[in-house]
Every structure is written in C-alpha cells, then in structure tokens.
Symmetry: C2
C-alpha cells in the first residue's frame, strides 16, 4: 500500500463544511475564485507534492546542505521544486493580483501549505520564507521595491529570508546590534551578523532577499529603534547588472532535523560594502516585522500539524499491517490462531486516536485563524477590527498547541512502531526530529505564552477574550441541538468558566505591577487555554459531522469517526486541564529567582 | 567551565542518607565492603567515566558502527573502555566473589552504572549487556558453563547479549520461532533469526555469548515452550580451540540515537552448524530470562535517568551562562542595563526545576528498587519474599517513569537552549535522540503498564500494593514530625486514596474476565502511579533534607534546594494526577476495537 501523508477528505471537510470557505469566497475581493476552482487547486497541490516533495523527503534528510569554499549547496530536488512552485503561482498565491499574485484566500493558502509541508517539511521552508518576505514588501515596500523584488521572488528565482536573530539577541530582539548608516544616495550601509537564518544562502538560487532588522545610527534603545531593510545578496549595480552585496555565509548549522533547509550564520558588510534599503519608515521595523512574524507563527503551527499528519498516517498504516499479539476473548488469549494487527490493541488505538485528535484538532484551529485573516482582509473597518482581534488572540495558541502537542503526537506515533520507530527503516524517527524545532521557531513557547497572557488576554480590557467566548458560544448553541452532543457542550462550558476563574485569579497581579508573578506560569496557562480552544474546534467538527449524519448525507463512516475522535478528545485529553487549573490557582510559586541563594543546582 | 554530567553530591546523598546503604552493608553477604570502600569505588567510577567515556560521547554518535564485508566495526574507544571496565572488575561487580565477582551491593552497582551512562550512554550498553548475560549464567548455568564463560565475560573480552526478538515476535514473545534440535552430544542445533540484538556482533571483541530463546523441537505452544540457550559466536572445538559457530550478522540497524551500540540482525545456523547449549531445564527459558529482563528493566530506567542527568547539567550550565532579556522590576524592564542570565526567568527556572525533579526523583526510585534487591538477596526467606514482592511491583514503574518523563525532561532541557538546543553545537539534541528508545527497550511502556496493572497490582490479592503502602506510611509518619512537611504528607495521603479508588473501580472488570476493558487505560494508570511513587521518593528526600537542616549538619544550600525541588514536584507535577484520575474513573472507553466499522482512519 502506498504511504499517505494527508487525509484530503478531512482537509476538504474542514475547508468546506466546518469553516465554510464559501462565506469567504462571497467577498468581492475573492471574486475570481469559486468552490470548483478551489478544489482544482487543491488537487494540483497534491499532485505537485506527490511529484516534487514526498519522494525526496528521506533523501533530503540524509544529504544535508554543505558549505564548501564559501558556498552552500542544497539538495538537488530543491531547484526543480521551486521552479514548479513558481510556475504554479504558489509562492505569491496569497498576494494581490495587481502585484502578480493569485489573490487566493488564506484558508486555501493554509490548506496548500499543509499538504506540501506534510509531504516534505524540509523543503517547504524555502518557498514559505520567500512568501513571508514578499508579503512584507507587499505591505510596506515602495512601488519601486515591489517592482524590483516581487516578480523574481514569486517566480521562485530569488529566495526571501527573515534576518532577525543575532548571537546576543534571540528572544530579546530589543538587543539587536546590527547597524545601518545612512548614505547620500538614500541607501544604508549595513554592518553586523545574523544567526539561524533559514535558507539564508545557497548556490541554487539567483539571489537572496533578506528582510533584515538593524539600528540606524543614533536610533533609540530597545525595540523602538529597530528598522526594517531589504538587503539582497546581489544588489543592482549602476547599469542594472547584479553586483555582490557583501553578504557572506560564515557558517552552516548542523541540526537535529529539518535538515533540507540550510540554517546559516551570515556576515553583513565585512568589506563595508553591504547596501540596505529601508522599508517603510525608520524605527518601525519591528512592528512591520510582526506582520510577517504573525503570519509565520500561524505557518509554524501549520507546519507542526503537517508533520504530525504525515507521522499519523505512517503509524496508522503500520498499525493496520503489523500483526503482533492476540486480543483477549472471555478473559483469555488463544495462542493457536494468528496474531492480530496491533490496531486492535486498546493501547495502540489510544495512541493513534491521540495522534488523530491532535492533527485534526490542530489543523482546524489553524484553519479558523486563516478564516479570521480572510474575513478581516475583505471586510469593513469594524469587521476587520473584530477578526483581527480574534486572530491576534489565537495566533500564539495556533502556533503553540500544534508545536507542543505535535511532538507528543509524533512520539506516540513512533511508539506505535516499537523498535521500528527508533530505526531509520521507518520515517517516524525523521518526523520526530523535524518537529522538535517548532516550539522554538518564531518565538519559543515561553515567548508565545507571555504574548498570550501578557498581551493578548488583557488587550482592550479583555475584549479579544470576550469575542472568542462569543464565537465559542455559537458552537455551544449548535451542539445543544443534539442530545448526544449536549454533554460535550456542558464540559466545554465548564472549562470556559475555569479559564475565567484563572484569569480573575491572575490578572490582579498584573494590575499591581507584579509582572513576573503574573507571567510565571504563562506556559501552563497556554497549555490549558490550548486544550480548551482545541476542544472547541472538536465540538465544532462534531456538530457538522452530526448534521451530516442526521441529514443522511455522504460518508457516514467518516462522520462517525469524527464524532468518535471528538469524544476521545473530551474524555482523554481535556481532563488534563484539571491539573493545570489546580497549578494555576495555586499561590505557591517556586520559579521566581531569589537573590539570596541558588536553589537550582 | 568544564561540563558536568552528574551531581556526585546528590548521588551520595541518595546512597547514604536517603536509602541508607549502611543497612545493606550490615548483612554478612556484604562483609567485604564498608562505607569507605564504597566511596572509593564511586570515585574510581567517576574517574573511569571522565577518562574513557565522557570524552568520546559526541564522536561516538557521529561515527556509528559500520557493517562491511560481513564484519561490524565499532568506535575506537570501545575496546580500551571495556578493558578498563574488566580491569576495574566492574563487569562482574555484582556477581559473587567465588565466581570472580566483587559481590558489591546492587545499590552501588546502580550508582556506578548511573555515572557511567550519564557520561556516555552509547557505550555502556556493551558492558551492561555482558553483565546481564553473565548474571543469567550465574543464576541458572551449570558449573561447566560458569567456568567456561564467566571469566572471559567479566574481564571484558567476551561480549554478552540478550537474543529474544524475532521479526514476528517483538512484544509477543510467545510467538518465537527459532528452533533448537537436540543432538546426541547433548547440545542443540539452532536455526532462526533475531533482530535488534544490541552489541550482537563486532570485531573488537574476541567472542559474543548470546543468551538466546528458542523452541526445542516439539515444544508446547506459547511461552511455556521456550528454552534458554547459550549460543556463542565461536564455540569450543574438539581441541579447545575456538571454532566459528555459524552466527552471522545479516544487517545493522541505523538508529535515531544511541548510535555507539550496534543493533544487529543475526542469522543463526544458516549452514546448519550453530550449536546451542541449554541453560537450566527445557521450556523454562522465559522465566529465567525474566530475571535478566527485570534487572535490565531497572537498568533501562536507570539509563534514562542518567541521560536526563547529563542533559540537566548541560541545560543548567547554559542557563547560568547565557544572558538574554531582562527581569521585570516594579512592572518594567530596564533596557539600559546588561541582559540577565536566563536562569533568572521564571519559565526557564520552571523547565530546569522540572528536569531536576525528574532526574533526582527518578534516580531515587531506582535506588529504592536496588535497595529492595539487596535486602532480598541477603535476608531470610520471609524477608526475601517481602522485598521481592516490592521489587516486582516497582520494577515496571522504575523502568517507565524515568523513560517517559526523561524524554519530557530532556525536551524541556533542549528548549532552555532555544535554537542552540536544536543544533549539534550543543549536546541536548544528542541526549534527546538517545533517550527516545527507553520507553521501547525491554518491553514498551504499554507492556510495562499491563504488567503493573494486569499482574503486579493483583498479585497475591494485592499484597504487593499493601506492602508498598506500608513503606510509604513510614515516610508519611517521618514527614509529619515537621510542620512544614505536613501539607506534603497530606497531599500524598490523598493521592494514595485516589489510587485505591481507581483500583476499586477497575479490578471488578478483571474479576468479570473483561480483561481488555480492565487494561484499556493501563498506560494512564502507570502514569498516575508513577507520579505518586515519585512523589513518595521526593517526600522521603525532603524528610532527610529537613533532618539535616534541623541538626545543622552539612551543606544547607544543598538541603534547601532539595526541599525546594520537592515542593516543586508537589505543586507543579503531582496535580497531573487529577486529570488522569478523572480519565481512569470515566466509563466512556473509546479505545476498544469494534468489529463493525473502522473508526480510526
């Protein structure tokens, strides 16, 4: 049996039935698309992934990029893949048509990225970063910058990057030291170094366009003195020719996973000849970058869920095919008969259901966020503000839940294979390595959790949380129409109360200026909040599945399986909130550093 | 600062103060040892580990064993290491003196193995397997077998293995198909193949002694027809010379981690010339092997805790040295000052405390088991039965808690390093890969959990659980003597009641013969039981730390840190039992396979 990495039926179920892309398509901005064209594009993505991505997944891991003679070479499949992506219009797919994009909804963009990353997450970073960098230029670049960079980036010839991290400035971006000196011609001279720059340099691309954060000479301290620059590897010379722009790879990181994408250490302006071009206004770079970061955070959550999807399908197939042990019947095992496929053992089923619950619940959450992005993009001012607030609140959750729980899910998936899971004969160990970066990418889980509790929850006096509660309320009401869903609506309602109770316990610390105390358990709050939000996504899916079953529509097995997995989430995963709530309401805090003595040794 | 991998002070604290090795040494069997010689041996182990193990850890991972021309070559550091181990007497350390051992307590053996595995877990499998195989011969071999094999094994010249797993028989050992045909000379001809045999063959050893399970022709079905054989790679020929015994490596597995130890696929008797020598009686092989398995399970738990220890110390050092971000003071961050070491951030401290709590709690649990093994070994019949029952009950827990939670702890440790944790510049990614096999080795977590709930909990009408409760009771009483420990004693008491409540809910299913239902959540029961047992180990440590503080003895900072970590375990980890208990008392079971339709898809 050919190995699968995504369930396309589930993807369409989420896109059409649960999250109703038709509502998004009804907006004038998306007039060029309809349900049929959306489905055709999904088919095209699957085809592209089957051809250019999935077959190279293992080989790309085994043959990681090499830095030799100052040049980085990547896997041979990268160039043909990026050409196909450019040709298919996927790199600029979400961008407006007048800038060369296809103006597709984020919901479709996310669906496409899901399929591709599930096929080969070591390759999709290349185009993902180019898309993110290009989107920054779309939003904040000048007309000239758009014209110069976007076409080459959208066709896949020029690579884009995010150049933020420096050796002394990782999570603390306010400590960025790369400098930008203004020149008479309006450009800047860039000097500094950046680390962990994914796809930062390689020979199989014509050019690299770095979206780089730096301080203009004399800029204020902290995040308010950071500006955004375009820094190409090759700049345009006097006669339009490409001239080397003094950006040099100083090193290549060797990583646990996701080896296909080179992570580079770059030197800018070692020979004092690195030209940078300011994007937008000075000192506003971090707020611009946050647009890209927020998109990127959603895509990180999506990437994690994609890898978890591929792992789930690999485990599922193994569990269906591998005979081992026997079931108990009437309290005994019959040794004379054949062994049973391990999917029939409750413990294995539990692990598979956990994988499925995380993958399909996490994907639904990311899709929900994409829907908010689409509705915000196309609506009026008030609608925009409404959905942007929801998106702001859910982005750190949609980044973190799939990343953290994706690891758990893949680890369980590896466990399904026993010794085989630990060996390179099966892909589980590869997925296990790949996904470990996701809780670190684009702001660690700790940073996301501080963003959620420290900013998003308290923004506009808690308005975002109120809007979310209203959204969840709609699902609760829909669920209560069905007797067998009512107990699950009740469970979720109780958990919403727990969230409120915890916030009422914690927020006073913030109001008293006790910020360390307020945020000391932020990561545990994130864990609890993520469980509740994903429980909501499962109920939402359960309602639609129930509607389909009642109306006698298509595929009752698929819908029953949805309900079964929803129940699994509520009976096996959601109870974890109990322990988290006890912790979050507990006033014995043991993680705030004492000045007097070192208790961690 | 030189990197550390163990806290020797903590090891001595557990060995001497918490688990009172002096009580074990008081037995006549250990008359050759005293507290001073024990400490000297620990120093020698640390020295050996610093010299032969730790320096090669990274290189051994990067240069895994190779199979070329039918021969397997291992890392160059393996041979000198095994020579040093043999010379130091460590391979046969636990064996009786009259068989060439040092007759040291298991508690010391476990302490030594902890230090060595923390230094380089990719290497310690070699000697660990030889020790395990030799112990089987010690227990069940004939005088002739002891004489022939033990000296060579103890000196490190001959490698030992456990040859159980076959392609169709992993978790289901009853399905072993390797055959043993009786020959007139009393030996057997072995035919079959074994997979995943660690250290199963390599050129840097003179011989390999496989402790192999096979079926004698005509043996009954299932586990009751399995016999144990010694199958050397080279057997003794007619004139005492070594003759090739038709054991051939057919393949080498490429693994996620622990790459130093070759995992081999072996063919026995391809040319019909593989001689096996029966150990003990026919058809009793599995019960013999279970002695080795139980020892091995304890050592697996110990190995996991060792890797987690090394990871903890690497994370701790990084957190103390890495400046990033600033603390909040009066609700604000001062951007003009220097950045703070990340150990001062509550979220990082939480991760470090979690690591410490798992490492020191897990190690204490393994040490407790070793103490039971020692007391059983040296006592009278009744004492023996008492401690063996306790050991039987705790062995699956001591295997599983460190394995499962060691993964969590190392993952948090990797997270402490951010991007650095994902890169090979730091050892965290290596530890992360290494430890992933531990929940699979020697019976997966699922198998251990079924052993715990399905066998150990119900053995002799629950007598083992009663004995454990009595042991815990002693700790509770000791804790209640101190006002500030009393709340923790109360918490633990409440959790013991939870365990009882769950058993009263579940055991009736077993009595009704509903075995699948009884065991369906066994893994979750294991998780809960492990938390409770480790909470006990933490209270036990807390009591001793408190006693030291009250008596004004040595090192108050160390003792305060113990109490702090104990509290952390109770306030941050133990609440997880709430969700697990809700699940275990929940009658909606969703993991038992239906015959009618496939709900996992």
């Amino acid at each position: 049996m050919a190995r699968e990495y995504v369930n396309m039926k589930n993807l369409r179920f989420l896109l059409h039935d649960v999250h109703q892309i038709k509502e998004v398509l009804a907006q004038p901005y998306y007039a060029e698309h309809d349900l049929e064209s959306i489905d055709m594009m999904l088919d095209a993505v699957k085809q592209l992934s089957d051809t250019y991505l999935f077959p190279h997944y293992e080989d790309m891991d085994r043959n990681e990029p090499q830095l030799e003679g100052g040049e980085i070479k990547v896997h041979h499949s990268v160039r043909p893949y990026l050409d196909a992506m450019g040709e298919g219009g996927w790199i600029g797919a979400v961008a407006p048509m007048d800038l060369g994009g296809m103006q597709i909804p984020e919901m479709l963009g996310v669906s496409a990225a899901f399929v591709m990353a599930a096929a080969n997450n070591g390759a999709t970073g290349f185009n993902g970063l180019t898309t993110g960098a290009a989107n920054l230029i779309v939003s904040f670049g000048s007309a000239e910058q758009k014209e110069k960079y976007l076409p080459k980036m959208f066709e896949g010839s020029w690579q884009g990057t995010m150049a933020l991290t420096e050796p002394q400035a990782g999570s603390s971006l306010s400590d960025i030291q790369t400098t930008a000196t203004p020149m008479p011609d309006g450009s800047y001279r860039i000097r500094g170094q950046k680390i962990y720059i994914s796809a930062g340099d390689y020979t199989e691309t014509e050019n690299v366009v770095h979206m780089l954060l730096a301080r203009i000479d004399g800029a204020p301290l902290g995040t308010k003195g950071i500006s955004l620059f375009i820094v190409p590897k090759y700049r345009e010379g006097e006669h339009g020719e490409l001239v080397f722009n003094d950006v040099t790879p100083a090193g290549l990181y060797h990583k646990l996973g996701q080896k296909g994408t080179p992570a580079t250490h770059l030197m800018y302006g070692e020979k004092d000849d690195c030209h940078g071009y300011l994007v937008g206004e000075p000192h506003r770079g971090l707020s611009y970058m946050f647009q890209m970061m927020n998109e990127a955070r959603l895509l990180v959550g999506l990437g994690a869920v994609s890898i978890a999807s591929a792992a789930y399908h690999a485990s599922l197939q193994y569990a269906k095919e591998r005979p081992q042990g026997r079931r108990y019947e009437d309290g005994k095992r019959d040794l004379t008969g054949p062994q049973t496929p391990i999917i029939n053992h409750p413990d294995v089923r539990r692990m598979l259901l956990l994988q499925k619950a995380i993958v399909e619940g996490g994907l639904s959450l990311v899709m929900e966020c994409a829907r908010y992005a689409d509705l915000a993009k196309a609506g009026d001012e008030e609608t925009r503000a409404h959905y942007e607030l929801l998106l702001d609140l859910l982005t750190p959750v949609a980044k973190t839940y799939p990343s953290e729980m994706g690891i758990v899910s893949i680890s369980q998936g590896l466990q399904v294979l026993g010794g085989g899971g630990f060996c390179k004969d099966f892909p589980l160990e590869n997925y296990y390595r790949d996904i470990r970066i996701y809780p670190i990418y684009e702001g660690t889980t700790g940073i996301q959790s501080q963003d959620l509790l420290g900013r998003k929850v308290v923004i506009k006096n808690g308005k975002a949380v109120k809007l979310l509660m209203a959204e969840i309320q709609k699902t609760l009401e829909a669920a209560e129409a069905y007797e067998d869903l009512r107990p699950y609506a009740e469970k979720l309602r109780a958990k919403l109360e727990t969230v409120q109770q915890i916030l009422m316990h914690l927020v006073p610390f913030a109001m008293q200026g006790k910020i360390e105390r307020y945020l000391s358990d932020a990561t545990l709050f994130m864990e609890l909040f993520g469980l509740v939000v994903v429980a909501w996504q499962w109920l939402k899916q359960g309602v639609v599945a129930k509607q389909h079953l009642v109306s006698g529509k298509d595929d009752p097995d698929f819908m029953e399986s949805k309900l079964h997995t929803m129940k699994f989430f509520y009976h096996y995963e959601l109870p974890k909130t109990l322990g988290l709530a006890e912790r979050l309401l507990d006033d014995t805090v043991l993680t705030i550093a004492e000045d007097t003595r070192e208790l961690v040794n």
